[in-house]
């Protein structure tokens, strides 16, 4: 039997006033990429802190490769690469000195892979961390998270504050790690960005898991959103009245078609209605979660 990478059961940490996480249960299998999705304040970081052994669970348990995350933190950490959300490195060191310190704390003597990673990321580790841009700091963090070839990567909002180019680069790096068989758990509040990498998602809301879904299956359930612009509000309202589920807003009408619903019928009707403009996009993951599991945080 293969060992579960992460096993969380009944995990609870109550910070009072409804903050914290309550009764979380999920498991991540080796080689899987799992994302905890949720708006800010949903409990993503609290969950990760418990997985990293920074914080002791109030109730329930969190295990990584069979070891308790708090009691066995030191053993767990040797197999985990971690990238914190608030990327606070030690400002007065150079990137290289910081990488050496982290390797030292891991008891790692051979740094050749770390320098290889620096090269791959185009990172000049010689400068002081204080003088680095956010993206460059993130690269230093990534080198520290990857240099010991961990079996599991835990990343807290890894793209926050990065420019799109750097974000793209980050996903490439993580995809390559996944292909190497590394298990990945990350948190994000941006639904779209994780689709490329992740197999499954847990939707966290108000400290509770609203749903755990295969992203592939979810994608198949996605409907298409059509936005139509008419000459005036009157025409828009008339069209909206004729199509069930359509909503008019000014001279725009928005409607959704699920898979298998007749696009041709819509297009035929649109063609006769004197439409000015037509936009179409796939329903976002966020909208889909909201459609399937109800409203936002109360």
């Amino acid at each position: 039997m293969r060992e579960t990478a992460i096993e969380v059961s009944g995990l609870t940490k109550d910070y009072g006033g409804g903050r914290g996480v309550f009764g979380l249960s999920f498991a991540v299998q080796p080689g899987e990429a799992f994302v905890i999705l949720g708006p800010n304040g949903a409990g993503k970081t609290t969950t990760i802190r418990q997985l990293m052994g920074f914080v002791r669970p109030g109730a329930g348990s969190a295990r990584i490769f069979g070891q308790d995350c708090f009691a066995g933190a030191a053993q767990v950490q040797s197999q985990v690469g971690y990238l914190p959300g608030e990327l606070a490195l030690m400002d007065d060191m150079t990137g290289a000195a910081f990488i050496r310190l982290m390797a030292g704390l891991r008891g790692q003597k051979d740094l050749s892979y770390a320098w290889q990673l620096c090269q791959r990321f185009g990172l000049d580790a010689g400068q002081k961390i204080r003088k680095m841009s956010k993206g460059t700091k993130q690269k230093v963090g990534l080198v520290c998270a990857l240099m010991h070839r961990p079996r599991l990567l835990i990343l807290d909002e890894p793209t926050s504050g990065l420019d799109p180019l750097m974000q793209n680069q980050l996903w490439e790096i993580l995809l390559a790690e996944k292909q190497r068989g590394v298990t990945i758990l990350l948190s994000s509040h941006i639904f779209e960005e994780v689709e490329r990498l992740c197999d499954r998602a847990a939707l966290l809301r108000g400290g509770r898991i609203a749903a755990v879904e295969q992203l592939g299956e979810l994608r198949a359930k996605a409907s298409r959103v059509y936005q139509l612009r008419f000459a005036g509000e009157k025409e828009a309202a008339a069209f909206a009245a004729a199509w069930p589920g359509a909503a008019a807003k000014g001279d725009w009408v928005q409607l959704q078609l699920s898979r298998g619903e007749p696009v041709a019928r819509l297009l035929a009707m649109v063609a006769q209605s004197g439409v000015q403009d037509l936009q179409t996009r796939q329903e976002s993951l966020e909208d889909m979660f909201l459609r399937m599991y109800g409203g936002r945080n109360e």
């Binding site: 914080v55 002791r56 971690y82 606070a88 310190l101």
Partner: protein, 263 residues
């Protein structure tokens, strides 16, 4: 202990220690140089005009010997207050800043167990205090030997330094323990730092007059009396300071190992 972290901290805090060594060198040599075997009388006369002020700074009984002179004017206040500032700065840099800015996450995310991390930081703090007092002992002994050969009673002077070290380690333990105890940086620094300063103030107040004398029972600084130590007396109470230091450091480390650290 973690060798990698130790190396980092020594490198990062070496300059701070050197600056403090420089400052105490300045005061140490100045005050040693001020000693004049004949000056004792005139200083006594000055003290009689404003006894409260002198007493507040622990300078109550300026004896005639160089040992008593140094115990009084150097070890009574300066060599408590200046090292205390260094202790506060070090505790800030060794623990509080890491938690406050979030860099602690990197230390905790390493396979080095928490007790090893915190033991390393405690070691750096204790080493800095021991270095400072040890350096002062050496400096004053050499200076005294050069300027006033044969005047300093080395064994008694060593006792004064042993007392000073005990008190400073106690303060270091207090500040360290408070830094381990609290998540937010304000209380982490100022519960320990504030208590240390308050203890020092209580001791100064207790020295002023008879009405305030009872205050001495509320401050551990009472256990350290440099002038009496310079006479070779009152050595036993120092055990209390050293024991207190050990307990405080140990408590801090235990708390740090078990506590929730939100980084």
């Amino acid at each position: 202990m973690s060798g990698a972290l130790l190396k980092k901290e020594l490198r990062a805090n070496g300059l701070l220690a050197v600056i403090f060594l420089g400052v105490v060198t300045l005061y140490g040599s100045m005050i040693t140089n001020m000693f004049d075997p004949k000056l004792g009388d005139s200083l006594n006369a000055m003290m009689e005009t404003m006894p409260e002020l002198f007493a507040a700074f622990g300078m109550s009984n300026p004896g005639a010997s160089l040992t008593q002179f140094l115990a009084n004017y150097l070890y009574g206040f300066l060599l408590i207050a200046l090292p205390l500032v260094m202790i506060l700065l070090l505790v800030q840099r060794l623990l509080i800043r890491y938690t406050d800015r979030g860099a602690m996450a990197w230390l905790l995310a390493s396979p080095t167990p928490r007790w090893k991390l915190v033991l390393t930081q405690a070691f750096v703090l204790v080493a800095a205090v021991v270095l400072l007092v040890g350096y002062m002992t050496g400096l004053c002994s050499v200076l005294a030997e050069v300027l006033f050969p044969g005047e300093l009673e080395l064994d008694r002077f060593a006792l004064v330094n042993l007392g000073d070290l005990g008190l400073l380690l106690f303060f270091a333990g207090l500040c360290f323990c408070s830094a381990c105890l609290f998540q937010s940086s304000g209380p982490a620094l100022w519960v320990g730092g504030g208590l240390s300063v308050a203890f020092l103030l209580l001791d100064m107040l207790a020295g002023v007059g008879e009405q305030a004398e009872f205050l001495r029972w509320f401050t551990p600084v009472t256990l350290y009396d440099p002038v009496v130590l310079a006479n070779g007396e009152n050595v036993l109470p120092l055990v209390g300071l050293y024991l207190g230091a050990v307990v405080l450091f140990a408590a801090g480390m235990v708390v740090f190992t078990r506590r929730d650290i939100c980084v």
